[in-house]
Symmetry: C2
């Protein structure tokens, strides 16, 4: 058996370009999103629009879920009837960022119906989704992987199998987000110290971005930290959510994560001021507040 028909649920900033890349290739893709009209540009490239998650999945060999959270994934599969609508032996691919323990439970419920499960969170943002070059951190059984791989290959440029158990992909994503979140926060901590001490900020940024202090996040978010009101590339509340998942993963593994916990508090404090929707670089405002400057 090979996948031909794919149901795709969650046509947001990430999901829509992923679904489009699948529709442009050999697959028959039916998309669904709660927002009416979300599938318009999916149809342009040969995909179809469905009226419900169950309709998107009717008789499909695979469903890919690019929803916001684990509860949304559960709601789509179990409450909205998407799981029962799938062909027998179909594979369920969950690409949302979810807590590892919740993914394990979800996978058991899926597998109890005879379907296969692949845990496949992604990294690479909207740019990677559009170009089909996402990094995919996947885990699942050999059978599930064999079925899902042609699908994953059309949305990702780098598919890394981190294990054979559901939840390990989610754990890898949590490990990844732990570093991303702390790197943004520490860039804010360092740059706000430099600001407070009156250093030439262009000179300072020039030094740290080219030295052993460099990080992908410093290069990407650092310049926006120094802007008063930068465009939103990724919101503060995304890291409030992702670091919550990181800390839940640590809790599940009985593993203390002190730096992640501190970074989480900093993002949370900005969100708590009603600024959860602003660019995540603005976690620097938490530091400016701590310094009495905002």
């Amino acid at each position: 058996m090979a996948v031909k028909k794919i149901g795709f649920v969650g046509l947001g900033a990430m999901g829509l370009p992923m679904a489009r890349n699948l529709a442009k290739s050999q697959f028959n893709v039916r998309g669904f999103d709660l927002r009416p009209g979300a599938a318009a540009t999916l149809i342009e490239v040969g995909g179809e629009s469905a009226d419900s998650a169950a309709a998107a999945c009717a008789g499909a060999d695979a469903v890919m879920l690019m929803v916001v959270s684990l509860p949304q994934a559960e709601s789509v599969l179990f409450d909205a009837g998407a799981l029962d609508a799938l062909a027998p032996g179909a594979v369920v691919i969950v690409s949302a960022t979810c807590p590892p323990e919740g993914v394990v439970t979800l996978a058991r419920r899926v597998e109890a119906t005879g379907r296969l499960f692949v845990d496949a969170p992604v990294s690479g943002g909207v740019v990677g989704a559009e170009s089909g070059s996402l990094t995919i951190m996947a885990s699942g059984s050999d059978a599930a992987f064999e079925l899902a791989m042609p699908v994953l290959n059309k949305v990702g440029g780098k598919i890394v199998r981190v294990g054979s158990e559901p939840g390990q992909g989610a754990t890898a994503k949590a490990v990844n987000q732990l570093m991303c979140g702390v790197h943004i926060a520490v860039a804010a901590e360092a740059l706000s110290l430099a600001e407070k001490l009156g250093l030439d900020m262009d000179a300072m940024f020039d030094i740290v971005s080219g030295s052993a202090a460099g990080s992908w996040m410093l290069s990407n978010r650092g310049p926006r930290m120094l802007q008063a009101d930068p465009p939103v590339t990724s919101a503060v509340d995304i890291f409030v959510k992702d670091l919550t998942i990181v800390l839940e993963a640590g809790h599940g593994a009985k593993t203390a994560l002190p730096l992640a916990a501190v970074a989480h508090q900093l993002f949370l404090s900005v969100s708590g001021r009603g600024l959860g929707a602003i660019d995540d670089s603005q976690v620097i405002r938490a530091y400016r507040s701590l310094q009495g400057r905002e």
Copy 2:
């Protein structure tokens, strides 16, 4: 006036190659180190060896200090007589990593004798020192800078002037080390979580080093974190010291640095077990201890 004669104090892993690069160029360099014989390879490239810091600086137009700490710099300049031995109007260049407030006080004492002062900490490690490609974070008056620049140009590949006040260079170095130290610690936090959860560590490292989670320190220290007993490139106690300086800089500026404070505790805990001399990548042992695995 242009610098011709340079006294160089502190011929360690960093200082010796820096002094050699100066001696290979247009300067007359006399070096001193407390360890006898440290200047042997300086002599090979045309430098001289002095019996004391004062002798190294006798009549020199500049002294460069690449000692371990601020107290050592003070001892050399004031107790050992190096400052008084310098030519009138000479420039004192301090490249050790020092607390900013202490550098300000040191600079005032130097300037009170009519000499000039440049605060010039470096980044780039032994490799950068040997190739003369260090990044130098410098601050000082126009007159001091003008005199020191030909010297700095022979040891550094990138000279960034972060301000005109002594101490601002030290602050820039503190900002740089804040990120370096936290980046090492967070790589350990993330990789130890992945270990605990049984992920394929090669796959995990492949993901994070190529994604938005990447940092210079993750790429450099990450592989050594996964070794049981890696070679020592830079010791745990260096970051115990440097993060102490970072926190002192924050204290002096009345600036809370929560991530740096946590990272400092982690390095300190490894040092406290008698392991201060092992490679700083082994801060991961603090996490393994927290997880009951070591």
